[in-house]
Structures are given as structure tokens and as C-alpha cells.
Symmetry: C2
Subunit: 683 residues, 2 copies
């Protein structure tokens, strides 16, 4: 017990590294690392289990820096413990090509669990990590085999505390009684606008208690290190609730400007850097210095972590003999590979099969595959019956004491909390043992845009089941009918937007989403019924675009997605009668089609045939594939869906009118396929 001079030296080393790195980068946030160095030092050294040589060890404790702008704290810790972050990496903080970007990115930096910085996201990610832990423990732990028992620790600041996404996630975590989740609130009273009292006077602890959290307070987080240790210890003892520790710290501790907004988002001035070093017993003329005894202390802890993993590996080996199937399942999950042959369970359809809404087709997929893909965790933001995300015998993920589910349950009731849901899914995926999918209306994926963006940037496999995907949802009207949403997410890098046209394409969408280990997917699904197309196939759909109606010497290509493809096929029949031959291409996923080779793409969208796109949404982006675009660059309407489709002319007749205009417009003109480009995009 008690803290030695070596502890103080270590804490001050972290502070000085943050000062040096931000000063050298001439950019960044020294204040939070300087204020939170004590709690970080205590948490990592006294409580956390991890092995820097294997950042992927499944039972490691998870650490999330939700106030990601303080990332020099995290980078310094990772360096000191011996993760693959060198002193040179710290010196190239915030420079092009470095693995120490301005905010932590899980895809780039070993030891960073989730991508944070956009405020509130990390907090919600940590709820996802904690859910994954509780679920995985419930599935795999056996008497004598406490395989999965890690904690999730989250640091968050005032900014995170103000964000709605964190409120949503905190309410959900309280409901779910996630005992292994410990969130430490850096209550430093300063945000970018200065004193937080200009906008934020609520009682944060009381609010967390209202959510069902256990709360603790440390009044002097700068100096009372024993109180910090005691609080974390107490938090770990409370197993039926998550704990929030309100930790009062001084931002920029040690700086001349400590406790002010001046140290939040700008490096210290040169004389202040020297001043800080003097105060903390460092040579003011030297930079990026780590005393050997600090390395020794941290490396000793790292070695203990490695030994702990070793022990765990032995236990897991032993588990193999007693619980062969479970061992194989967990081992497989950790590779990210799906069970051999799972895809045989995907339903296929014949044209004679009945017309079904793609949200129901999605349900059929889940019904078929849930037993062969045990890592799939479904859920919905309070739209279960509308999103069709729940298979019949699903069990809810709930604390067992409610009597409505248990920890092994694979269906999460997210509540009406779309933004948190998406960020929780990012945390679930980051844990490494589950694949999350969850539903809301496509229009309300926009509420979650901040988190979906981070799904893409973090390269995680999450599935957004986005039903009611157009004006076809009907009576709910323009407030619920997406117009801009498909364009929005198609413009987002590393995000697959699938809009399947029928059953085979829905199966393809799931195949693609489940096998894309490093890419999130949005499945845009209809409320209204869709016929099974004559020309559809899983194989075709998996190329992103393919002809569902081929014709040699066609005068026009119609290109379309989802619920409009069958109307295009009808338009083709209609036009045929009037002497015009058209072919129809379905493009269920832009991103996948873009990744095909040029020869294939030109086969799908050949030269010398004008192309008209048809989609009941914004035309933005369709120019990429089509010479002319038929869409909806206005808000929709409230009414029966057939009436709305008629109003906006998404009918065989309406399409045919524009098809004829397009053919006419290009008559006598050479027509180059838009697949031909003058130069390649930077990717």
C-alpha cells in the first residue's frame, strides 16, 4: 500500500511525455493527460490485466479513452508498457504516416481497443465491450473455468458527459446491470468554452444513480492517490451495477495554466514546458525522456500480464479436454472466421415463390442462420416487430433477475437509442467474440451517423438492419421516409450499403455482411412486399451489380436497387410491347460493384447503351453509373405506399416515359459507359 517516489516519477513521466509530444507536434491536448496521469498509472498498474506482447488476448481488461483528445495519455502508457509503440512513434505524434494520430484509432495502433475522439462514442463502446464480456462469460464459462471475467474501464470527460449518445448508453448499461463496467469521469470543470458551468450545471452523479449505476466520488484526484485506488477497488466489488467514479482533477496539472481552458487544446508554451519539467524533477533542456526505473516498473507489470495470459492459455487448453465443442467454438470465433458451411443455411428463392417484404426476408435469414452462426447477436432500437430482427426462439440478453432473459441471450433490447446502439455494436464487435446486428428504420440510422462513421473508420464487422427504407413505408410520412440516407452512407468510405431487390439478394447481403471482417454493412430493407425476380441470384448480387434482365441489342439499360428493380422489370415488359428493348441491372451494393474489375463492370454497363437509374430516393451519386437519373430530390408524402409510388411516378409507365426520353436524348450520340474514367481515384 502507499505510493512511492517511483510511482510519482512514473506519473510525472507520463505528464512530461504528453507535454513534449504536443509541443513537438505544435498541436494536441496536453491538459487531460496531465490531469489523468495519476488515475491511469494506478488503474493500469494495480488493477488491469493485459499482455502488451499480445494485445488480442481475449480476457484482457479493456481500456477505453472516451475523451480521445487526451490520447497522448494512452500512447504514453502503451509505450511504457512495451506495446509496439516506439519513442519515435511518440515523437511523430499527429504527423502524416504515424501510428499516433490526433485521436486514437483502433485500426492503426496496437493496444487501442476502439476509435475515440468524437465525444461520447468511447463511453458507448465501453458498454458494448462490457455486454460482450458478460455474454461471452455466460456462454463459455464453466465451473472451474472462469475463462472470461475481464473488466471494462472507461475514462470520460465533461464533453462525453454532455453528449446524448453517452446518456443513452449509460441508461442502457444501468438497465443491464453491467457489473464489470467501471467508468471514471474526469470532472475537471473545463471544456473548450472554458468553465463548464457556462453550459453544464447538472448533478452528474445523481443522473447516473437515476440510471441505476453505483456512484463514487474522489474529491482530490491530483493528490489523494489512495482514494483513487480505494474507489476502483470498491467499484470492482459491486457486481450487480456498473460504477461511475467522479474524479475531481486539475486539467494541465503542473502547468502555469493548470485548471484553465488554456491547457485543454493547445500545447504549452516553451517556458511552461520547461517549468513543468523543473517542477517534476526533469531536465528542462531535454525532451522525450523516460527514466529507466519507470521503464523497469512498467515492464515488470507487462511481464506479469504475459504470465497471466500464459496461465489463461493453460486453462483454456485444459478446457479443451472437458468442453471440446465450446473450446472449438471460442477458438474459432477468435479467428473471426464463420463456421464451415454456414452459408448453406442461407435461403434461396425461385421466381414462383411468393412476394415478401425484404424485412421479412431478412427475418427468414436470421431464422435459418442463427443456430449455425452462434456469435450473431441481434437486437433493435424498440422496433423489434417492425425490423423483424428477432428469431422465434430468441432469448433476450438481460440480467436474469428480471425474469425476461439471461446473460447468454442473443437478442438485445436497445430501447429507443439509435446512436448508442450503433456505438455499442462497435464495442461488441471490438470485443472479438460476437458479431452484432441490430435494427431501426433506415431514416433513423441518421441519428446514429456519428457511430456508423466510426464503424467504417474502425473496420469493424457490424450489421445495421435498416428497414422501412423509402417512401414505400407509406403512411408514416415524410418525417420517416429517407431521401438522402442512401447517398449519405454510400459516400462514407468502407461502408457497404446493401439494398436487396428480393430474397436471393437479401441472402447475398447477409453473406457479404457476415464475411466482411473489416467492413460494416447497412442493409436497407422494405416494409412492402417484393416479388422474387426471374433473373436474381446470390452469385450475381455478390458482384454488387448484375443484369437481372439481359437483352442483346438493348436500346437502354435500366439500373436500379431494391423495391424499384421489379418495377423496372415491369417497365421493360411495357416498353417491349411498344417496341423498345431494354435490359435491367440490379445494383444491390455500390461499394461491392466498385471493387469489381473493369471488364466485368463494362459487361454490366456496356458502352453504346444509354443508362437510366431508378431509385425512390435522392439521385445524388447515381450519375456514377447512369447517364440519366430518375429519383426523388424532394421529401415524400404520407399515404398508402401504392398511392405515393403513383404520385411520384415510380410505376412501369413513369419509368417508361423517362426511358423513352433518355433513348431519344442519346439518339445519334456516341454513348460511353460511365465505367470508363479518365483517371483512377486515390484509395
Amino acid at each position: 500500500m502507499g505510493y512511492s517516489d517511483l510511482d510519482k516519477l512514473a506519473v510525472n513521466t507520463i505528464r512530461v511525455l504528453a507535454v513534449d509530444a504536443t509541443f513537438k507536434a505544435n498541436s494536441g491536448h496536453p491538459g487531460a493527460p496531465m490531469g489523468m496521469a495519476p488515475v491511469a498509472h494506478i488503474l493500469f498498474n494495480k488493477f488491469m490485466n493485459f499482455n502488451p506482447k499480445n494485445p488480442d488476448w481475449v480476457n484482457r481488461d479493456r481500456f477505453v479513452l472516451s475523451n480521445g483528445h487526451g490520447c497522448m495519455l494512452q500512447y504514453a502508457l502503451l509505450h511504457l508498457f512495451g506495446y509496439a509503440i516506439s519513442m519515435d512513434d511518440l515523437k511523430s505524434f499527429r504527423q502524416v504516416g504515424s501510428i499516433t494520430p490526433g485521436h486514437p484509432e483502433s485500426h492503426d495502433t496496437p493496444g487501442v481497443e476502439v476509435t475515440t475522439g468524437p465525444l461520447g462514442q468511447g463511453f458507448a463502446n465501453s458498454v458494448g465491450l462490457a455486454i460482450a464480456q458478460a455474454h461471452t462469460a455466460a456462454v463459455f464459462n464453466k465451473p472451474g473455468y472462469d475463462l472470461i471475467n475481464n473488466y471494462t474501464y472507461c475514462f470520460f470527460g465533461d464533453g462525453c458527459a454532455m453528449e446524448g449518445i453517452a446518456s443513452e448508453a449509460a441508461s442502457l448499461a444501468g438497465h443491464l446491470k453491467l457489473g464489470n463496467l467501471i467508468a471514471i469521469y474526469d470532472d475537471n470543470g473545463i471544456s473548450i468554452d472554458g468553465d463548464t458551468k457556462c453550459a453544464f450545471t447538472e448533478d452528474v452523479s445523481k443522473r447516473f444513480e437515476a440510471y441505476g449505476w453505483h456512484t463514487l466520488e474522489v474529491k482530490d484526484g491530483d493528490n489523494d492517490w489512495q482514494a483513487i485506488e480505494d474507489a476502483i477497488k470498491k467499484a470492482r466489488e459491486v457486481t450487480d451495477k456498473p460504477t461511475m467514479i467522479k474524479l475531481r482533477t486539475t486539467i494541465g496539472f503542473g502547468s502555469k495554466q493548470q485548471g484553465t481552458g488554456g491547457v485543454h487544446g493547445s500545447p504549452l508554451k516553451e517556458d511552461d514546458c520547461k517549468n513543468v519539467k523543473k517542477i517534476f524533477g526533469f531536465d528542462p533542456e531535454q525532451s522525450f525522456v523516460v527514466p529507466q526505473q519507470v521503464y523497469d516498473m512498467y515492464h515488470k507489470k507487462a511481464a506479469e500480464g504475459a504470465a497471466m495470459e500464459q496461465e489463461w492459455n493453460q486453462l483454456f487448453q485444459k478446457y479443451a479436454s472437458e468442453y471440446k465443442a465450446e473450446h472449438a467454438d471460442l477458438a474459432r470465433r477468435l479467428t473471426g472466421k464463420l463456421p464451415e458451411g454456414w452459408e448453406k443455411s442461407l435461403p434461396t428463392y425461385k421466381p414462383s415463390d411468393s412476394a415478401v417484404a425484404s424485412r421479412k426476408l431478412s427475418e427468414a435469414v436470421l431464422e435459418k442462420i442463427h443456430s449455425v452462426v452462434p456469435e450473431l447477436l441481434s437486437g433493435s432500437a424498440d422496433l423489434t416487430g417492425s425490423n423483424n430482427t428477432r428469431w422465434k426462439n430468441a432469448v433476450d440478453f438481460q440480467p436474469p433477475e428480471y425474469g425476461i432473459g439471461d446473460r447468454s441471450g442473443r437478442y438485445i433490447r436497445y430501447g429507443v437509442r439509435e446512436h448508442a446502439m450503433a456505438a455499442v455494436m462497435n464495442g461488441l464487435a471490438a470485443y472479438g467474440t460476437v458479431i452484432p446486428a441490430s435494427g431501426t428504420f433506415l431514416n433513423f440510422v441518421s441519428y446514429a451517423a456519428g457511430a456508423v462513421r466510426l464503424s467504417a473508420l474502425s473496420h469493424v464487422r457490424v450489421i445495421h438492419v435498416a428497414t422501412h427504407d423509402s417512401i414505400g413505408l407509406g403512411e408514416d410520412g415524410p418525417t420517416h421516409q429517407p431521401i438522402e440516407t442512401l447517398s449519405h452512407f454510400r459516400a462514407l468510405p468502407n461502408c457497404m450499403v446493401w439494398r436487396p431487390a428480393d430474397g436471393n439478394e437479401t441472402s447475398a447481403a447477409y453473406y457479404s455482411a457476415l464475411t466482411a471482417k473489416h467492413t460494416p454493412s447497412i442493409l436497407a430493407l422494405t416494409r412492402q412486399n417484393l416479388p422474387q425476380l426471374e433473373g436474381s441470384s446470390i452469385e450475381g448480387a455478390l458482384k454488387g451489380a448484375y443484369p437481372v434482365l439481359e437483352a442483346s441489342n438493348a436500346a437502354l439499360t435500366l439500373i436500379s436497387t431494391g423495391s424499384e428493380v421489379n418495377i423496372c422489370v415491369d417497365a421493360a415488359t411495357f416498353l417491349k410491347k411498344h417496341g423498345l428493348t431494354v435490359r435491367v441491372v440490379s445494383v444491390p451494393c455500390f461499394e461491392v460493384f466498385d471493387s469489381q474489375d473493369k471488364a466485368y463492370k463494362l459487361k454490366v454497363l456496356p458502352d453504346n447503351v444509354p443508362i437510366l437509374s431508378v431509385e425512390a430516393a435522392s439521385t445524388m451519386g447515381w450519375e456514377r453509373y447512369a447517364h440519366e437519373q430518375f429519383g426523388l430530390n424532394r421529401f415524400g408524402a404520407s399515404g398508402a405506399y401504392k398511392d405515393i409510388y403513383k404520385k411520384f411516378e415510380f410505376t412501369p409507365e413513369g419509368i417508361s416515359k423517362r426511358a423513352l426520353a433518355t433513348v431519344d436524348f442519346y439518339k445519334g450520340q456516341p454513348v460511353r459507359s460511365p465505367i470508363n474514367r479518365a483517371f483512377q481515384q486515390i484509395l
Copy 2:
């Protein structure tokens, strides 16, 4: 005191109208109207001031139905009081062409203050309405002239209570001590997934107390009408805090399925409709019946409201004689017109003026115009120093007791609450006496996407100051660098996205945003400095696109926005040296350019000249104006902005390389301007 049989009849009339309308529409939400009819009846008849013959009377009490799916409640009330909603309108509930859409839309329906349905939005709008009331009162009320003293009442349900946007707004409202805001929580325990206990077990009252609200509870909102009345009365007496009344009701009161999820989002079955009518003493065989005495009662209340407005008008006339300037100012504001000649204050720039970041240019506009446009209310989501949204002598809008501002203050500290900020702005704009503008990073406007969408759908004049608009923000890195955001909001109907290239264009953006009475604007502004262009002008920019570098016989048109325009001009110089003449078009606003006539558009983007677009963001949508696109269809990088621009080749050399490739690609090909289209879009 006490409630008569007539009151009961009125309440049941509302219930039965909701049952009839949803049954006829075969769609909709009868449950909430049936449960909330008593509180609505009491609130509207005993407390609210309004004149159905003039829904725009400025001092009317505002009513917001945040659980907008219950809109048959609102439509029934508006009809009964004699707003311009006929019985036929109720009969065409949720039908194409009706003014009674599936969720309330303020632009369509007289008496609907704000557009609700997407959960949580209305709650945050009501905070905006209450801020506008408090501010307008502080500016215009004088001794003896309590001109502005209305209340804002908001109904909200469990769904709203779960949404982060409502949490953010509630925290802000508590901080701001909005005494005239009364929110009534329909605690019916049912959401779409059934019992709210499956996801929502927090203590909502305690949470609101933590935010600084006054809370009350009515345990039997079905039957204890006196308790409802007493609670609202008490709420009005508390003037230093907003009040939340937790009202326990039974969803679908009177239905066989009352208190269950079965009455939430589906019409009652025919026999249940009859059953309800029987219970409430209506003829089961008749529909859409309003007893004359109910009309009489409601029309009497309406007449009292008309008289009250009459009285107010007389007071306002008298005010004119004593406070001429204030009277003229308020009267003008209510027309939505800006003060005569205000635009003369907009700064203009010469090419010799120094290079300035457009966020600073925006600040210069605010500095110049704030005194001539007194209705402009600025603010920021805790990024004041980065967004440059605050003029020097601005006063914060704060409760005076904090000592850091007052109610007349025109600068709102929104805290780190982007989603609520945008929705609060929608409420501010809807009030009718102020024009809200506020800042965050462009990337975090995505957090507010749900509310920005409703700005557009509601036709309100709000200004989103969106700084740090590209990879040009530099070191903060990919988590903060927008890629998809411009495409996203350009695809949103009725939303102007401005990305000005220099000082003149920034002034043009403000001119456009401030004079667009029915359209929100997003101003995408740089962190980095931009030179003042030789060819820029306010007039040109106000056409949406115009040549900033003209050249006859040009081999190529470069089209670009914002920070990339000056690089295109440099590329033109570079190419000129290599024998290629190119012209440069700046397109600061797609939406405005699209609205120009074809002749003008063809002058800007003429036939026979290939067009290459250049923007450091997703190319999605640029195909509308350019044959080839140079952009960034991947995430950015963390580093000094010049290094990042170099990495991604947004340099004169990088542009020139692609310009040459484009010219080469189109050599010998006829080139039709993309302005030529085969057919017109439906608008």
C-alpha cells in the same frame, strides 16, 4: 372547479375521433391519443392561450407533441377548437394530399408549431421555443407591457425520454432555468417492444431533478383530472426552473387492449372500435361524430383566445406610442424580413486583402452584421473559439443569477450537445422572433443529422456554422475530418450547403442564408487560410456557381468549392505555362445553382468543354456537374494540413495531372455539358 359530464364527453370525443381516424386510415397510433386525451383537454381548456383564427399570434402558448405519432390527438384538438382543419381533413388522415400526415408537419398544418415524430425532436424544439420566449421577453417587455409571457408545453413519451437528443436538451433547459417550459411525460409504460421495462428501468424524475428541473407526479392520469390540473397549476408557479410532470396513463384507455403494445401503433379492430364507442356513450354504428355541445365548449374557449389576442393587439398598439423603436423592431421581426439595408454591412474583399480562414471570415460577417440584424442569435456546441461564432461584445444568454450573462444575451452556450443544438435552433426559428445560428465542426453536424433533416422538412431559417470542413483541419485526424458530410447534406432536399472559397463568397453565403426564409443553411468553413480570389464576387456566388477564372477557347473547366478553388486557380496558371488553357468555376452552393435557369447554367458549364471537379471530400454527387471527379473516397490522415493535401495530391500539380488526363480522355469526343438532361426531375 371539478369536471362535468361535458368535460368527459369532450375527452371521449377526442378518443373516439382518434379511433375512427386510425381505423379509416388502416394505420396510425390510437393508443397515445386515448391515454392523453384528459391531460390535453385540461391543458388546452384551462391553461393555454391561443387564437385558432390566427395561429401566428406571437404571444400564444406553444404546444409541442414530441411523441408525434400520437398526432390524431393534436389534429382532433385543432379541429375542435376551429383551426383550419376540417372533419374531412380528419377523415383523410394519413392519405396522400391531406394536411393530416402520419406525423405532424408544421409547414403543412395550421396550429402545428414544429414537425415531430422522430423521437426526442419535439422535446428539444420546445426548449428552443422556451429560450426564444425568454429572450424575446427580455428584449421587448417593459414596465406595464408584459408583451411576451407565453408558456411552452410539451408532451413526450417513453421513446422521447430514451433518446439522447432529449437528454441533451433537458440538461440545457435545466441549466438555463427555463421557468416557462412545462413538459408532461406520458409515462404509460409501453413502447413498441412492449413493456418499457425490457430496456428502460431508470428513474426519469430523478434524472430530470439531476438536470435542475422541478418535477411533479400524477399517479392516475386516467381518472384523477383534478390532480392533473393541480400539477399544471403548480408547474406554472415555479418560475425559476422548467417543470417535468410525470403522468401515469393507460395507453389505449377504453380499448379491450388498453395498457398493452397492441394499441400503440395499429388501429383497433372493428369490434373494439364499437366497444370503445359503447363504453364512451357513442353510437357504435357511427363514425367521426362530434356532439354539438363539445364544439360549443371548444369554440367558446377559442373565442376567449381571440379576445385575448385582441387585447394583446391593443397593448401592442399602445406600446408603439411609448416604445416606438422596439415596436417597429418586433413588428418587423414578425414579418420575417430583415432590416432595410442590412446587407450593406456585409464585408467585401479585394484580391490584395490578406488570406484568411473562412471561419474567421464568418466571424468578420457576424462582427459587422450583429448590430444591424438584432434577431440573430449565435452560439456554439462548446467550440466557440474554434467556430469563431461569437462577436466581441456579445452577451451570453444565461439566467442572470449566474453572473455570466442575461436573458437578453444573444450568444447561446449549447454545451457539447450537437443534436439538441440543431433541434433547439428549429424551435428558436419556429418561435418567429429570432434567427438562430450556431457552430460545431462540419463532421459533427452528422451528430445532428436527425434535427437538420427536420430543419429542411419544416422550412425553417436556421444557420449551421460548420467549421473545420475537410482534411484541411489537419492534425485532429480522420475521426474529425468529414468525407461524406457534404454529399450527405447536399442530398437532403431544401437544405443549402454553402462552401465559400473566400471573403466575398462567405458574405454571399450569409446573405443567402439570412434571406432564405424557408430554408436552412449549412456553412462549411475552413480552419486554414484562404486567399481572396481575383475573380470572386458576392453577385456571382449568389448564383450558386460562376466562373472565377474565365477563358475563351478553354480546353477544360475546373469546378470546385471552398479551399480547393484557389488551388484550381493555381493549377490553371501551372497548366497555362504548359500550354493548356483552363477556366475555373466556383460552385459555393449546389442547391442555389440548381435553381438557376438553363441558359445561365450552360454559360457556366458550356458544351464542348470537358469538366473536372475538385473537392477534398467524397466525389459522390459531383458527376452532376463534372465529367470527371477528383476527390477523396477514403478517410483522411492526421498531420499538418499542407502535408495531408500533398499526400492526397490536392496541389496544383496533382490537379494538373488529372486535368491533362481528362483533356486527353475526351479528345476527339463530342462533349455535352451535364447541364443537358433527358428529362426534368420531380420537385
